[in-house]
Symmetry: C2
Amino acid sequence: MTAMNVGAANREALERLCRARPAWTAVRPAREAIGLSGRTLLHAGPPIEWKRMCWPMRGAVRAAALFEGWVRSAEEADALAAAGEITFAPCASHGAVGPMAGIISPETPVLVVEDRVNGTSACSFIADGPWGHQLRFGAHGPETLAGLAWVRDVAAPAFATVLEREGPIDLASLMAQALSMGDEMHMRNAAATGLLARRLAAPLVAAAPNAAELEKILRFVTRDNDQFFLAWSMCAAKAAARAIEDLPGSTVVSTMARNGIEFGIRVAGLGERWFTGPASVVDGLYFPGFTAADANRDTGDSAIMETYGLGGMAMAASPAVQKIVGAKSFADAVQTTRDMGEICVGGNPLFPIAPLGGDGTPTAIDIRKVVQTGIVPRINTAIAHAKASRMIGAGIATPPSGPFVDALVAFGERHPG
Amino acid sequence: MTAMNVGAANREALERLCRARPAWTAVRPAREAIGLSGRTLLHAGPPIEWKRMCWPMRGAVRAAALFEGWVRSAEEADALAAAGEITFAPCASHGAVGPMAGIISPETPVLVVEDRVNGTSACSFIADGPWGHQLRFGAHGPETLAGLAWVRDVAAPAFATVLEREGPIDLASLMAQALSMGDEMHMRNAAATGLLARRLAAPLVAAAPNAAELEKILRFVTRDNDQFFLAWSMCAAKAAARAIEDLPGSTVVSTMARNGIEFGIRVAGLGERWFTGPASVVDGLYFPGFTAADANRDTGDSAIMETYGLGGMAMAASPAVQKIVGAKSFADAVQTTRDMGEICVGGNPLFPIAPLGGDGTPTAIDIRKVVQTGIVPRINTAIAHAKASRMIGAGIATPPSGPFVDALVAFGERHPG
């Protein structure tokens, strides 16, 4: 394989990522949308077995097992998992993405996002319900289960009805607008959440079962959670990235994901194979009362945002996210995006950054450039408590370089000469 | 009056503008909120009598006279006005602001915005209804009147109920957030509209009379009008500016407004007195099928945004508005804001602009600096058709320098030595 051929494959990868126009088309149970059956759970990050899972992921497994009715207590869930009675697989390998612990079970209602340009689709669970105590952070108490049931029984059907009546919602243009409004779409989705709320509010009136539930749904969609849109942005990014999950000859990263123990990547030209290293400790800002000593290691499929050229890659577009993740200054954010440009194939014209003269966000991470420059992708991320089922801050994860080096070696072995 | 004393008065003006924290507190008829009675109409810009009014303002007078039930036809409205049976006064002199023609009649429901820091308040009419054909552009047909009646009978009471139940809505923090999301708050209010929609959507459920009207109200608030928030931003800016409407010794501009014929300013140290010159032809981008030959001259009270340090003063904060008003580039927008800094007393820390290192938007226009530098405030604005009751574009108005020179001469006469 010559460098010229790799260059052409990588340009094709960039082109596919840039031309993607993901749209939200449906809400369906994971059973239907992803084809999950039996006692199967999808999780965030590279493959991992029950006994090696971090505490937040184990908590989320408990929540899912209770939600599915497979067990009646957390202890029964642990026993079921330990007995090998639950099949685990990465979301990433099933066209899905899960934030933080990222557990998706068959009855979980998922967003379905389709990109008709590349002919791909992707799914993610919507959210955990309006009462906090989120499954994604390992919560599995009564409030969490009530929230999951409410999303399944009330919010998800209402969203599905809106889509049936209104048709697909164009996420590409919505995200392009939100980026110009200061979202980097990973740790800041405030503008996108507002734009989605504006799309959904009026049609939800006829789609909700009654006024009390309508008010609850509207509150869920519009209030107190600037990150509500994250599930949509992750789905859109995954739908785009699926177009390069099997692109022979390309050294572009198709997946970056963490399971709380390991960070892993997959590469377009190497298909399903994972390259992993230890998940990093996130360098972040902690909520009052918490420190790095309380933190779980980096976790979640949300690094799909950086895989798609947003999040940490797009820091220069989002002055507001700097305060959330602890970046130093606007100049520092601009420098980060310039650095990310060093390891990417090109820019995405869908996401021009005004302070960079309208250059598109750096897109299509080339493992050759990562290895040559020593610059690794910068990932903006939330920080989970290691054992207390909650978010305790946000920051910047610097993934290990090992997986990029290993992947390049494997690529060389597969493409000698 | 020494220059040192003027400097102190101007710093006080800046301080008052910067410390203002306007909040939306109520919705009431102009009759109650402004004390309008009898056949009185407020209009945009400096004082003007019926026979000199431009066509859009005459159209809006017809709409208001019909809405109030004073007349039964446009012809009757013209006759009533021509007979001197309608009292006209500027919004600006009654603590109010009106976009474009800016006609406010006694039964018009108005937003009430209060700034408890400076102890001021301001009002503006909400909007013309959900069907286009806006009074502000001179429309006065059945759709316009139906829209005004619907706002009066349905939307305004629902908003009032939300405020009674939820308490005041802090517009200062909402606008600060919106500015960081690319709104300059005059010709771009997309982010602010989304933030307001997120605040209102859920509580409107219990405040609307029924599901059909709720859906219509939500559509009105959330869909198809990125400028919905403009009435709120104008009210907030007016509430702030009222704190300097009578500030002895200050050469800071307290009002900039246009009536479609004349551009006028008032100055903090000169109270109610107006200084006027011909309203300019707006340099803008026209909707397809329209040219500058179709345009009315610059009109409306919305230049209160620039008076408060937003709009054209804040171009660097709003890459997106450049395309709306026809600015050349991001660099050009940054330069505009730097130029505006040359004629202002200081920056408003409530509105930091990230690409300018976090400097606040240029605030408190000093007529001395305008005259010294020859730089006039740059006003972003919508363009009204001269005779067809509609918006036909948007652009940048460059007001005449005469009123600033005249005001400085008057200031010198009042403060000799």
